[in-house]
């Protein structure tokens, strides 16, 4: 099958074009030896099927990044039948730099001028015919997004693939033109294919070329002795780059006619928005406000803080189907409204029906009823009850990312991050951590500096992932009921901020002690702002919902069955008939064994005979963080009979009420609950994340230190929260410890100065 390659800058629309051409035939893998995506598919609308390979997005064919090496080697070694160079028509001059390099290879080539719809929208004009005659290559105007021009592009590419092509260079008439020509003749004599490309790279002293053709290096060295440029001296690499850009500017600028009055600087809509959102002073406060707005819309039970205007039990929908779902002394936020409808009508009614149905099955044993109703349904209800809010939060973050705003946040945070030893590039993996830590850690491969990468991997779990949201929401709900803080969204927002603050302090500590080093420069292309596509957002939400439900009915379901078993059986394998004797269960004894460890954190021995529930729940979070609330749900259902005898009648119908039941049974305080949240947010993450960290970190020693770091950080922070919250004067002791650590770091740095 003939093979075409798609090559171009990042964000030029290559993947969009690839997806349009190949559809469901696309196959994604990895280039061997490197962790760079390889995409292949088949185009079937030409005279014969064509294999399309999507090369990684690159700015040049230099050997500095794995993506560049992969693309270059593919074109040179695999010799595709045609290279389709996708050029972003809205950034013509920058994109043509790569074009001038690919042109030097002996391979048939066409240029696909993409995003022509955006050029037309802006009122600019590109003379494609003029570009084609000047560059000497076929130029086809397309819009990959709108699927325009694709057939013409593939037909032209197919025609070109049948004709051999010799490489041409734009440097022929430059100061290095003669040297390039001489080296080329030498390489032709040795039978090297694409001699022009290799000769230009040799003149640039490209590492790969100098190793492969060391004899030709002498020609270049000899030329250097007799040549000296006024600006670049003997830096031929810089001269070549300058030569390319000069040629592009002089010859191709005339093909573009901009829709702007003479003397006026045209500001795009993105530029105008950026003047506000990336403001030097207001950029970060705006980001924090946006973040708060997201949490308010998702979790607030007092939307826009209007509750003060109404009576405590105000509800205009009383005695209707919607009573208590939308209003209750104030207006619920959209997230809470959906949460209430989901739990009252869907989860509550459905699982209630199933529970009743199970009880009515003839011949079913009481323990079987308990297994299904208390174990399975109790755990599933607790976890599934949070699905709407997880999806809504995920939707908001996806909108921010798709719109292009998150890229701006990385840019405005770069200056602040540098003070802590990180670049703004580290922000992208961190923000992915709000969704899931696993792809966030994989995304740290974009960080070239190993120390920066290790520090980022260590703090990613502090950015609470979607799985930790049920813990936050359930316990924030319990705290809101117990305390004067009536708004759970404020507690949830504060906990997210706590994670960010702990991450920053941790990075400061690491980058000033064992991971000292320079912060690498951060250069990033800001994509234009765009309206997120409704269809792609809905697909993302659907995907997230499927993943969550799948996890609930597999890992969490299995965990709740195991927890039920351990709660209802003794070490002698006898079922506990009397529910008030639950303290004799396997789980209770295991829980009591580890319970003292959590005493300094506020949810240990001080919580009495049922306090082990908190310890057990925290440990089950290692399997999956949703398991924490799943465990609460199962355990609360199992302990309901015992707790009712000793405390009060409890009605468990979701994660929040399960936590409240445990709080009532154990006497957990507000500082203890906040400490519990903090511990679960900061401690060793789920097994999947741990496995990813192990794979991404450079050595086993680094991984083991990372585990210790997570345990230590979570223990210290949680203990500080509980102790200071319970006995405020202990803040003095902690302040003293912090001061001692700072002094220690300063003395350490003085004695271990970086060379």
């Amino acid at each position: 099958m003939i093979k075409f390659a798609l090559a171009g800058n990042p964000n030029c629309g290559k993947t969009t074009l690839f997806n349009s051409l190949t559809g469901s035939t696309a196959h994604v893998g990895n280039w061997p030896g490197v962790t760079v995506d390889k995409r292949e598919g088949v185009y079937k609308k030409c005279a014969e099927p064509i294999s399309i390979v999507d090369l990684p997005g690159i700015y040049s064919l230099s050997p500095y990044t794995p993506e560049e090496v992969v693309s270059r080697n593919f074109i040179l070694d695999e010799q595709p039948d045609c290279v389709i160079n996708i050029v972003d028509a809205t950034n013509l001059e920058r994109n043509l730099y790569l074009t001038t390099q690919i042109m030097e290879i002996d391979v048939p080539m066409v240029i696909a001028l993409n995003m022509m719809d955006e050029v037309a929208k802006s009122g600019d004009k590109i003379d494609a015919k003029k570009l084609e005659s000047k560059i000497g290559l076929p130029v086809i105007e397309i819009s990959a997004l709108k699927c325009q021009g694709m057939d013409e592009l593939m037909e032209r590419a197919y025609e070109e693939s049948k004709k051999p092509r010799e490489g041409t260079t734009v440097l022929k008439h430059s100061a290095l033109g003669h040297l390039i020509g001489d080296v080329k003749i030498s390489l032709e004599g040795k039978g090297v294919s694409s001699p022009l490309f290799h000769s230009v790279k040799l003149v640039e002293m490209d590492e790969i070329e100098t190793e492969a053709h060391s004899d030709c290096v002498k020609m270049v060295e000899a030329f250097k002795k007799t040549f000296n440029d006024d600006i670049f001296g003997t830096d031929f690499e810089a001269m070549v780059a300058d030569g390319r850009y000069k040629y592009i500017s002089q010859n191709f600028s005339s093909v573009l006619t901009r829709n702007v009055k003479k003397g006026e600087e045209r500001l795009t809509n993105s530029d105008k928005i950026d003047k506000v959102l990336t403001h030097r002073i207001w950029g970060i406060p705006i980001f924090l406000a946006v973040l708060f707005a997201i949490f308010h819309l998702t979790f607030s039970e007092n939307f826009l803080f209007l509750g003060g205007f109404f009576a405590e039990d105000w509800d205009p929908l009383k005695r209707t189907w919607f009573e208590g779902l939308i209003f209750n002394g104030g207006i619920f936020s959209p997230g809470v409204m959906i949460f209430n409808v989901w739990n009252e009508i869907i989860v509550g009614k459905l699982f209630g029906l199933i529970g009743s149905g199970v009880e009515s099955i003839s011949g079913i044993a009481p323990w079987a009823v308990s297994l299904i109703n208390d174990g399975v349904l109790g755990g599933l209800t607790a976890v599934l009850s949070f699905l709407p809010q997880i999806l809504i939060l995920f939707l908001f973050f996806s909108i921010l990312e798709d719109s292009g705003y998150m890229a701006r946040v990385a840019f405005i945070l770069d200056k602040l991050f540098r003070k802590f030893g990180l670049s703004g590039r580290a922000f992208m993996p961190m923000i992915m951590g709000f969704g899931c830590s696993v792809p966030a850690m994989a995304n740290t491969r974009t960080l070239a500096d190993e120390k920066e990468r290790t520090a980022t991997i260590r703090v990613i779990p502090f950015f609470s992932c979607g799985a930790k949201l049920p813990i936050l929401t359930a316990i924030a709900g319990a705290i809101a009921t117990m305390s004067s803080i009536k708004n759970p969204d404020i507690i949830t927002y504060s906990m997210y901020l706590l994670g960010i603050v702990v991450a920053i302090l941790s990075v400061l500590l690491m980058r000033n002690t064992t991971m000292r080093g320079d912060v690498p420069p951060f250069i990033m292309e800001l994509p234009s702002y765009r309206t997120p596509q409704f269809k792609s957002l809905m697909m993302l939400i659907w995907d997230k919902a499927k993943h969550f439900i799948k996890k609930a009915f597999t890992v969490i379901l299995a965990s709740t069955i195991v927890i039920w078993f351990l709660t209802n059986f003794t070490w002698e394998w006898k079922m506990i008939e009397d529910k008030t004797a639950v303290s004799q269960s396997i789980l209770a004894s295991l829980g009591r064994f580890i319970q003292p460890l959590f005493t300094p954190l506020g949810f240990g021995s001080q919580l009495g005979k049922y306090g082990w529930v908190f310890a057990v729940a925290a440990v089950t979070g290692l399997i999956a963080k949703e398991d924490v609330i799943g465990s609460f749900g199962t355990l609360a259902a199992c302990l309901a009979a015992a707790i009712s005898v000793e405390v009060a009648d409890i009605d468990i119908d979701g994660g929040v009420s399960a936590v409240q039941a445990m709080v009532d049974a154990t006497g957990a305080t507000v500082p203890g609950l906040i400490s519990f949240i903090a511990f679960n947010m900061l401690t060793i993450p789920c097994f999947a994340t741990v496995a990813t960290a192990k794979a991404e970190l450079s050595s086993k020693k680094t991984f083991n230190l990372t585990l210790l770091f997570w345990i230590g950080a979570s223990y210290v922070v949680s203990a500080a929260i509980y102790l200071i919250g319970t006995w405020p004067l202990t803040a003095i002791i902690f302040a003293g410890v912090v001061a001692a650590v700072v002094v220690g770091i300063v003395l350490y740095n003085r004695s271990h100065k970086i060379a």
């Binding site: 993947t15 469901s24 696309a26 196959h27 994604v28 893998g29 990895n30 962790t35 995506d37 099955i361 003839s362 011949g363 079913i364 044993a365 323990w367 079987a368 297994l371 299904i372 899931c436 696993v438 792809p439 994989a442 792609s536 697909m539 993302l540 995907d543 499927k546 993943h547 799948k550 597999t554 890992v555 379901l557 299995a558 069955i561 195991v562 097994f687 999947a688 496995a691 990813t692 192990k694 794979a695 991404e696």
Partner: protein, 58 residues
Amino acid sequence: MEPINILIIVFAAAIVIGVTVASIVKKRKAKKSGSPACTGCCDCCTRCPSATNKEHTL
């Protein structure tokens, strides 16, 4: 013991054993097929909208 109760025990055991075995098999499969960095412990790459095949490639 009534058949319904036996069925429930078998079903519960099957879920626990099945989930455990599936996790181990997935991990081994990922190590064989995908990049060395992939441990197969999650489905992130297989459910990513921009990934069109179902192999672990992370």
